[in-house]
Symmetry: C2
């Protein structure tokens, strides 16, 4: 089986038996395709007790939700496997474990996380995982530090930057985050009712200049090996545990992009809260989202600073006082990228369930407009919002 072919459920079971690393692989008997993403086949492999034991993920050569007319490199399976392996090496607590990667079938066999749930689903159900924000901050600080100039030898860093060039997946981000929402494009997707907000956004030339700077930073700031797509749908949580999955957008980019995506998705849920929940639950959910953002940022900065202090190897970068300046710049990027995430998820190709599942139409539209408005404000006010607490206060004042 060396030529690429997409797996049937039976083939996925057979493949899992070969590569599961289980003591008794003959236990594996059944596969269920559960891919709800856009790009891949994902099989859960069950044992004789009907317990899912392992995941087989295979890259498809096109964007699944659009169809075969939008071809997409299979090389992303390599990038996903290698990104997860790099991240796991430094942060096994919070990275899904890759058990086997097959460069010919573009298949990753990985640990099953059925005892967890997708964070986004939890957030939409009004659940709060009090440790998740802290664990996400620890994950980001760890994986970004260990792939940064603070830690890596400059020769090794350059090798990794080349190895993780991810032109096709980056192009998706370049288009969906920084181009489409700010122009007319057939990929955009928003209800006619919010047209006014869309047009106001496109008429804002200061905003477009600020977005251009963010795109330039996305293009040309290989600060660390990013996850590249770390929204609440790429994160599994259960009580006391958080695991990151789905790293096919991994590449060396600006740290603020990962932080901005993560924070942007908490803010998307914040913007939808009044449509998703009854009034008291909405109030509580909004406070929890802002608390999570504060925790995420404070954990990230504390952990990153400690890592620089104890494990930093670049003499010039590890000088007293530099990490604070560096983190101030990362925070500015974070706010900007969070803003682009809020905007593109409200009017671009790919939406989030936090807004799209709001059943009341007026509430749904109001939530989309809130997200667009907040996105714009974050991009334009990076200078006055100085940290997580200040962001909380800013958001609370806005709505």
């Amino acid at each position: 089986m060396s030529q690429y072919q997409t797996f049937t459920a039976e083939q996925a079971v057979a493949y899992a038996k070969e590569h599961s690393g289980l003591v008794d692989p003959s236990e594996l008997v059944r596969a269920e395709e559960i891919g709800d993403g856009n790009l891949n086949l994902v099989f859960k492999i069950y044992d004789t007790q009907n317990v899912s034991r392992i995941i087989v993920k295979q890259a498809l050569p096109y964007v699944r939700c659009v169809g075969e007319s939008w071809p997409l490199t299979l090389d992303r399976a390599r990038l996903e496997a290698q990104t997860l392996i790099e991240h796991y090496q430094h942060c096994p607590e919070h990275t899904v474990k890759v058990i086997h990667y097959d460069p010919e079938q573009y298949v990753i066999v990985m640990e099953d996380l059925s005892d967890h749930q997708i964070w986004r689903s939890g957030l939409i159900a009004g659940l709060h995982y009090p440790q998740a924000a802290q664990q996400l901050g620890e994950y980001l600080a760890t994986v970004l530090f260990y792939s940064s100039d603070f830690y890596l030898h400059p020769h090794r860093k350059k090798e990794l930057v080349a190895q993780f060039m991810n032109p096709q997946m980056c192009e998706i981000t370049e288009d969906l985050f920084f181009n489409d929402p700010y122009m007319e494009h057939e990929r955009n997707n928003y209800p006619a009712a919010i047209e006014k907000a869309v047009h106001a956004l496109r008429d804002n030339s200061d905003l477009k200049v600020a977005v251009a700077e963010l795109k330039q930073r996305f293009f040309s700031s290989p600060q660390a090996l990013l996850h590249g797509d770390i929204h609440s749908g790429s994160i599994f949580v259960k009580s006391g545990s958080l695991k990151v999955i789905d790293a096919e957008f991994g590449f060396f980019g600006p740290m603020g992009f990962d932080l901005g995506c993560a924070i942007g998705n908490l803010l998307l849920n914040y913007c939808g809260a009044e449509g998703l929940f009854d009034k008291p639950t909405a109030q509580q959910a909004k406070a929890q989202r802002l608390g999570d953002i504060e925790t995420l940022w404070s954990t990230f900065t504390e952990r990153f600073s400690v890592l620089v202090k104890h494990h930093g190897s670049d003499q010039a970068l590890c000088v007293d006082g530099y990490v604070s300046l560096f983190l101030r710049n990362i925070w500015r990027d974070t706010l900007g990228f969070a803003g682009t995430e809020l905007i593109r998820r409200s009017m671009g190709l790919s939406h989030v369930a936090d807004l799209d599942t709001i059943s009341d139409e007026a509430q749904r539209h109001a939530s989309l407009c809130r997200a667009i408005h907040l996105g714009r404000e974050l991009i334009l006010h990076t200078d006055v919002i100085t940290d997580g607490d200040s962001l909380s206060a800013f958001v609370r004042r806005a709505f």
Copy 2:
């Protein structure tokens, strides 16, 4: 002749005859080794009329001025040839022409520029080439624009960034610019008489934080294919003409690094003027250097903006108003990198003749201290110096 061996003069002539592209290569009869740099053998190949017709440059596997104890990658010959070829493609007026590149012998055959002189020699001799600054601004705007995100397709840009990874040569810059001067290191080289200025520099923690940020930008800002070492000794001039040579430090880095090196070297000559010249000549030379810096920056910004307007291809980056913001950021980097060049040329491994050839010892030491002082001020005051004219005024106020 496929295994690498360093050329004798005779071998250089034989090689030139094979690869000169001349109609009658039998004219070539004699070679003279003229390498005054640190890294290479450079032969001028003369014809029967004793006219030099062509250059044969071969990379040595070690740093020539230190000896075989400092090995250095021969791959830099590829990087030099490919950088010059890329730059020539867009700016043939101001880039030396590569006639032949040999990846096995690490040899570049290139056009002879004996009718030009090295700009640094002219500057030290008190000569002024009134067109040089403008032509250098045009060269930098052109080669940097055509290798930037404004112009290149993102896929092509990523390919080129990987192709031009230059870890060993970058490491030299990383060490000599951003580490050595700010610590005790055996590679440093300065007279005991300026020890006080050196110690004051190393005690300045704000300065070290700012230098760390510059190093971080050098590490992680692949904005364009830089020359990487564009001081006045890498530039040939004659009346009406300017040609750039010696691109073995070529890599994708922050545009301000090239601009800063160029401007830093004009400022080094400025700092040495009172030791190099009599009083009226010194006054004139200083005014000319500042005038050149103003012209260089204004030409660069005008030309770069025109190129973005007429040939820019990235829709988001080409939005009205963005290029001004981008150039403001490049200018800030430029000042900082110019400052590091002033400092490392005054107390680090590699000095410049503009200061070292000052025969009066007290004058020489005063010039070194001026360069160190000015370097520090530029790095610390990037926020208040807004353009070339403002830089001129700042320097004039300082000395």
